[in-house]
Amino acid sequence: MEGERKELNVEEIPVSSLYDRDSTVPINLNKYRKAVKKYINKHHYHTALFWADKVVSLNNGDCQDIFWLAHCLFLTEQYHRAAYCIKSQNLHKVDLGCRYLAAKCHFAGKEYQEALATLDVTEANSIGPNTRNQEPLDKSVVMGDKNWESSIQLLKGQIHEAMDNRGLAAMCFREALHLDVYCYEAFHSLIHHQMLLKEEEKALMESLPFGKQCCEEESKIVRLLYETQLKKYDKPSEMIFPPQLESLENNLDIKTAQAERCYYNCDYQQCFKITSLVLNKDSFHSGCLPIHISCLMELQKSNDLFYFAHKLVDLYPEKAIAWFAVGCYYLLINKTDAARRYLSKATTLDRVFGPAWLVYGHSFAVENEHDQAMAAYFKASQLMKGCHLPLLYIGLEYGLTHNIRLAERFFNQALEIAPEDPFVLHELGVVAFQSQDYATAEKYFRDGLDKVENSSQTVLPEKWEALLNNLGHVCRKLRKYEEALEFHQQALVLSPQNPASFAAIGYVHSLTCHWTQAVEYFHKALGLQRDDTFSTTMLKNVIEHLMNEMVPCEGIPDELPIYEFPSEQNLALLDSSPIIPTEQSDSGFEIEMEATD
């Protein structure tokens, strides 16, 4: 008994001792109450439930005991019973904890309206301590009041999210976080479900009352930990770690955040290294999984992805991420039908899983099914208000269907969310280019390039080859041929053996009348891609130009000297020149040729 008492946590001791004094029952109820908690700790929920039930009966329905009974019912997934158990006693009207639990039970049973009603209705009749049962309970609640409030807000947020009231949900989460800055779930929902714009995220971080709720040291840590998870894509940047927290650097969450940054920086090799490391330590680190899968996609490691998806499905068939992995695998091997099947399974399992919607859209986009792709992206954009990617993809699809206006509008929206994302700037440049506004296009491209060059380390990732080539195109249009060449050459360094770059360089050379180089580069382009009609036609024209301009051969006068007659001089020349007796082989060949003819 003494031993067990020590095991109980400090918070509960005053409560139980209170009961001890008030209780008139001869049986030592406390012992059973402790047993209930002990069994819950040991995950023997049914045993706990049995004793909790008995305690309630023995104690004539004490509020606290009913709470525990409901708690046990919740743990054994008997949500209806649990809710009924509280509501039948009207406890949800008087006690915050019970109210929260009842609502949680409704939420778990997917009765969202019920849940909301439970939370809302009782709010009107505020807590008034008038019954015997409530007195102890209130005391127990007093200290944790804030916590209940925060939990209630969090739950409300989750309910709203489940009901697709994303605005309300975001508000509730924010409220929850304000009430308790340690409430990571609220933070996670806000950030990872992409509910906030970049500015809003910043504002949230500013407004959180770290100072009030934790000491200075702690507030630093919390703030830093949260900041590592903020928007990583719009402006890829390095993570700076203060020296006092170096030990945290190997924390898997932090590592994951690092990997994500690498991913958005297009440094897939590095990203893959980190995610592999994380998954080596924790094979199914949930935060790391989507990044690892995306990374495998980017690196085209289809075999690895196959195995990984299989493992995930075996272990977590009820999780969206497992089916997401399967869908990604099928998309990678170009089986779009199967990919869609599994991706839609992933989206039904987790309705707020944005990446699945995006990949679902991609599966249509690769087949040029623009409308369906857009539908999927639109869905994703509803789910991820704070993420610019769906908007970017919608814009792309509009661009591909030649709706330049609309495309531009969506890119601008994307730019509002992520004002410094080089991808968006690049696409805006493309739109401007298509509407022949070359100066603007150049500006956008250069902005994008600035961002990329500032953020990435020494070497640009291969992804930016298109940006450089487009810069080359735009410079060519603006008649800055030197610069255009420079950009195309840079693009070639990033992504060598690219026929498009070669053709572009050839084109610039042909515009500047450098026929020899033009011919050479068109040749290179055609060597890599034989059915390139642009290069073929250009090459034909350029070669004609070149041959019309070229001198037939070096070292001869413009005007040939008159051939002397009779020509002693030439005869002398003939005598001295080495005459190889090739006649023999010549005639031999002629005979051979005739034979083969």
Partner: protein, 579 residues
């Protein structure tokens, strides 16, 4: 740099031993082989063992990773490149690190080669997937300036494979500065040099090995005299025993079309080093040109006995079959050579020629293009491309390729004649005339330039010059005792007409007489003779009226091109083996 005659051979030998040690410990087998060969040529000089790096201790730095190094090196040696790369990752000692990256590169190359087995026809691209990541990785380190000579070499090779020539040249120059003893780096650099000007602008380290490089580069650039000069001086200073130098000298003769001297050189080389396969393909080219069937057959069998699966062997056998007009079989062997080494230049060119013989223009174009991709100074491939496009009736393309071939061999009349013909097809007669004229003046190999020039003069109505050229031609043929019936007959016919027109009846008669010797002009000649006889009698009768009958012979003259198909006269093989 000190002139060759003042070299201290002792230090040279020391350097060679060091180079061999460094290269072989890094798995750079070809460079190690070269160093060993050169060192063997200096076997008179003895290096005390304490100064030989092979017998001295490793430096302690690399000793730390000695186990890893040994493991990786062993895997490398048995061609398990992925394993070698895996066990040497994260190593810092220069050798192990090099081995790691080099293994990854070779692993990619090997996989590329394995994939190629399925795609026999050239053209389909199989790529080395390791190149791009390796480039990105090496670029990062390169920017930090912490690549040593060998890593720079690897970086340069990768850049070259990715067709980034400009960058490759810079990096390889840096590589030879840091590690001049690594012969492989020099060789890679040599393949990237386009012309003499470029060679002279490169900044190269002042090291004795530079002479070898310069000679090699000259040879590649067809600057054969310069190359020969250096090689003779090198032989004089003490490398007389070097098989490498002997082979290079023979190649120089081969390039200069000194066929006999070249064959002699190779035969001598065979006596000293009977199992040597390097450069035997060039030897076989020479035998092919001279149609020395027996010798070629012997060489083919000998190579086959030594090593069936060497590129050189395959080329020799291919040539052997080609000489026997078994072109399908020849192609088969060239393909085998290319499977063994897809960067083997001469196999690509030779295969292109075979495809030309088989009238498979698409395949021929692909082969020639591959050849050019491997080495853009291969004039035979450019010329081959010209011929293919001539067959495909794309005159501008054809002109372009001939012109490039001609630029690479400025003094080769065959290029000039081909170029002239291409111009003629495009009705650019003035340009054509210049080409023929130049071809004639640089020393005509095939004896075709003059007659073509003459015909062109005729076509342009420059009668005087045409006559001059024709008579030159006739004289020339007599000197050479050549038999070119058609050309000769038309020459005589023209001359007969010309002289008749100008009233020089003696000469006219002489030439008309000659015309009767040829069946195709016999009838015409007889008519002409009758006319001359008539004129003579008229002359004798004092009637000095000369009728302009020149136009009689004009008509048939203009048709001369019809029986002059490009392929009939200029077979591609013919060109290949008399470079």
């Amino acid at each position: 740099m000190a002139p060759i005659s003042t070299w201290n051979l002792f230090t040279v030998k020391q350097d060679l031993l060091k180079a061999h040690y460094e290269c072989s410990s890094r798995g750079l087998r070809q460079s190690a082989k070269w160093s060993a060969e050169m060192s063997y040529a200096l076997s008179i000089i003895q290096i005390p063992p304490e100064e030989d790096p092979h017998f001295t201790q490793e430096n302690p730095d690399s000793m730390k990773e000695w186990d890893k190094y040994l493991l990786a090196k062993s895997y490398f040696d048995v061609q398990e490149y992925d394993r070698a790369a895996y066990f040497s990752q994260n190593c810092v000692s220069p050798k192990t690190h090099f081995l790691h990256l080099y293994s990854r590169y070779l692993s990619g190359e090997k996989k590329k080669l394995d994939d190629m087995v399925d795609t026999v026809v050239p053209g389909e691209k199989v790529r080395n997937e390791a190149l791009k990541p390796l480039r990105a990785e090496l670029q990062k380190v390169h920017l930090q300036k912490s690549l040593d000579g060998y890593l720079l070499y690897l970086y340069g090779v990768i850049l070259k494979r990715l067709q980034l020539q400009k960058q490759a040249i810079e990096v390889l120059c840096e590589a030879v500065h840091k590690e001049p003893l690594h012969w492989g780096a020099w060789l890679e650099l040599a393949t990237l040099i386009i012309d003499r000007e470029m060679l002279s602008t490169l900044s190269l380290p002042n090291h004795w090995i530079k002479e070898f490089f310069l000679a090699h580069a000259y040879l590649e650039l067809q600057l054969n005299e310069e190359a020969l000069d250096i090689y003779t001086r090198l032989q004089e200073v003490g490398f007389l025993a070097s098989t490498y130098l002997k082979a290079q000298v023979s190649i120089a003769y081969h390039n200069m079309r000194e066929v006999d001297q070249a064959i002699e050189g190779f035969q001598a080389l065979q006596k000293v080093d009977p199992y040597r396969l390097d450069n035997t393909d060039i030897f076989s080219n020479l035998l092919y040109v001279k149609e020395m069937k027996v010798e070629l057959s012997f060489l083919a069998h000998q190579c086959c006995e030594t090593d069936k699966y060497r590129v050189q062997t395959c080329c020799v056998i291919g040539n052997f079959y080609s000489l026997r007009s078994q072109h399908e079989k020849a192609v088969l062997y060239f393909q085998r050579a290319l499977r063994l080494n897809p960067n083997y230049l001469s196999a690509w060119t030779l295969m292109g020629h075979e495809y030309m013989e088989m009238k498979n223009t698409q395949a021929a174009i692909q082969s020639y293009r591959q050849a050019i991709e491997v080495n853009r100074r291969d004039y035979r491939a450019w010329y081959g491309l010209g011929q293919t496009y001539e067959m495909l009736k794309m005159p501008f393309y054809c002109l372009y390729y001939y012109r490039l071939a001609q630029q690479l061999r400025p003094n080769d009349s065959r290029m000039m004649v081909a170029l002239g013909e291409a111009y003629e097809k495009l009705d650019k007669l003035q340009e054509a005339k210049k080409c023929y004229w130049k071809a004639h003046s640089v020393g005509d190999i095939e004896g075709m330039a003059l007659i073509k020039l003459a015909k062109l003069y005729d076509k342009l109505g420059e009668e005087e010059q045409a006559a001059a050229a024709y008579s030159d031609y006739v004289r020339d043929v007599e000197i050479r005792r050549g038999i070119e019936r058609e050309e000769q007959s038309s020459a005589f016919r023209f001359l007969a007409g010309y002289y008749k027109k100008h009233g020089r009846l003696e000469e006219a008669y002489e030439n008309a007489q000659k015309c009767t010797e040829y069946s195709e002009t016999r009838e015409e000649a007889k008519a002409l003779l009758r006319e001359i006889a008539q004129l003579r009698s008229m002359q004798e009768n004092g009637a000095m009226q000369v009728e302009d009958n020149g136009s009689v012979s004009r008509g048939p003259h203009l048709q001369f091109q019809a029986n002059n198909t490009p392929l009939g006269r200029l077979s591609p093989m013919n060109l290949t083996f008399t470079p």
